[in-house]
């Protein structure tokens, strides 16, 4: 049971890394950023290639993946999402989906369709409460919690964080104060995308890298974002770990239903909370 719990928390931590960026775009622009899954998958493939290039120096490969991912994320925001923002939400969603299609084929073109296994960089287990637990998974959980605390401090202490939180509440209000909201959002967008890359790199040793790896986590992350409340940092954190536990616990009893259960929870939350209803 403890192992299931740790597994659930690990999944939750990865979901948290992935969902932050999604939640921010959702909260600010009300669009679903399908391209998030593209950057996630691309980041993992960059990491794999760089790891081979740098002969297994993990930190260097991670930094390289982030450096390569950042311009792609920036271009997505600057040339696709911002251009369509305010015109039509549907078109923005379709455009990001189109990017995801292109990105998936780019991956297939350069890296092929066969899944790449990634080895666990730590590879040892520790004994905790009498159970053997992989250190790597515990590290992921710890990192997610640290990230949550850091983001909390960032939004409470720093000026940029305060601006972003205020703009999530009322974008026009912040703009009326003479602050260029778009500029801050594009930085936050890039930050969110890079966190997705980090999540992908952390998750790769647990699963495998394959061209469609983004689609699956994207769907579950959407459920996390909807359940946690769009644009809410704390809500996303709680929902991510809750969904991770839902997956792990369902998976323990009925392994095929694990992913589906997430959507059942989301549907229940939608029925009870009744948000996102603009009319009728």
């Amino acid at each position: 049971m403890i192992q299931s719990l740790v597994y659930g928390l690990t999944i939750g931590a990865i979901l948290y890394f992935f969902s932050i960026g999604l939640s921010i775009t959702f909260g600010t622009m009300q669009i679903i950023n399908f391209a998030h899954a593209m950057i996630y998958a691309l980041g993992v493939y960059f990491f794999i290639s760089l790891l081979a290039l740098f002969k297994g120096m993990v930190p260097l490969a991670v930094c390289g993946a982030l450096v390569l991912g950042a311009p792609i994320a920036y271009a997505t925001e600057r040339f696709v999402i911002r251009r369509l923002y305010g015109e039509s939400l549907d078109y923005a969603m379709i455009a990001t989906y189109a990017l995801l299609l292109i990105g998936t084929d780019v991956i297939k073109f350069f890296w092929g369709t066969t899944p790449y296994p990634v080895t666990d960089p730590i590879g040892t287990s520790t004994n905790m409460f009498g159970f053997a637990l992989p250190v790597y998974r515990i590290l992921i959980i710890v990192l997610a919690v640290l990230l949550f605390l850091a983001l909390n401090q960032f939004t409470k202490r720093s000026v940029v964080g305060k601006i972003v939180v205020a703009a999530l509440e009322d974008k026009d209000g912040v703009r009326c104060l003479g602050i260029n909201v778009d500029k801050y959002f594009s930085w936050v967008f890039v930050l969110g995308s890079l966190l997705a890359v980090v999540g992908g790199v952390l998750y790769a040793p647990i699963s495998t890298a394959e061209p469609y790896m983004g689609y699956n986590i994207l769907l579950i992350a959407f459920a996390v974002v909807i359940t946690g409340g769009m644009g809410s940092f704390t809500g996303t954190f709680v929902a991510a770990f809750a969904m991770g536990l839902v997956i792990a616990i369902t998976g323990r009893f009925w392994s095929q239903a694990a992913d589906t259960m997430v959507f059942v929870v989301m549907a229940l939350v939608l029925i009870v909370r009744k948000d996102g209803q603009t009319d009728g």
């Binding site: 969603m93 379709i94 989906y97 769907l219 589906t260 989301m266």
Partner: protein, 327 residues
Amino acid sequence: MPLTAPKRFPVWAELMLIAAAFIALIPALQVHRVNDYMIFCVFVLSFDLLYGYMGRLSFGQMLYLGTGAYVSTIFSIHVNGNPLLSMLAGILGGTVIAALAGLIVSRLSEAPFALSNLAFNQVGFFLVGSTFQNWTNGENGLSAAVMPWGYLDFSNEYTACVFILACLLGVFALMRYLTASPFGIMIRSIKENGTRVRFLGFNVFWYKWLTFVICGFVAALAGSLYTVYIGFISPVFIHPLHNVEVIFACLIGGAGNLYGALIGGVLFMGMKDVLSAHLGQWEWLLGLILLSIVFWFRRGVTGLVASIAGSVATGRRLRRVEERANP
């Protein structure tokens, strides 16, 4: 967009035109392709009512297509091989699922709407692929046991063509009637501003739910046509990743235009046939075309034609005015 229906040809003339156009495609494409195209067009019409007319972008329309296909296939195997009864069962199944899911999703709009549909589609895909494996045969797919009934023998491609064409024309007539009726005006008003419609005292939820169910109904019809015509169903028919195809077809033809849906359906299927024969991977091209539609050709092929025709007409009018001014 004007809310009253523009003056048009009588219905039968439009239907004849469509029938003639599809029959004209047969020599160029062979019957079996035209049949495939027509079934896909039925599916695009269902999506167009939801997205083009009511403005609700769904990433989960495949669920109703797939439910229609699977229910009719399973019905044909376990209950009765009559093609019409199997289709009826499939349509009923898809409509019931749409009615139930609609209770939840038609309250939503925009991103939550698109996502919840995608989520339901994912659940449906999972149920078909794993949970009900004993019934659906999982990833290996399932052969339908549809028997010929009287003259209705789907192994004869020309008979199938007539039947599918009749279904397509029926759906088109239904859509044309719906979109020109007060109901159609209502759903277009909901697209423009649902809150205002509610303030006028209309039950917006009821209209959205009903439209959603009609779309599910037509999509299930398309799915059951696949069953009786192709006779083999696999999880491809309910896979969430294929939703982008119908979105693409609807957009490239021109959303919110019934002819656009037909043109888009034919264009997409033609593209798919040509590209998948020559290119191993062609989804990137789909993505590039989608991007260019979104940035430059929002109204698709029909919109492009309409704007060219419009500018020609304006030019002629201007010339006439000039001639009158300086004779």
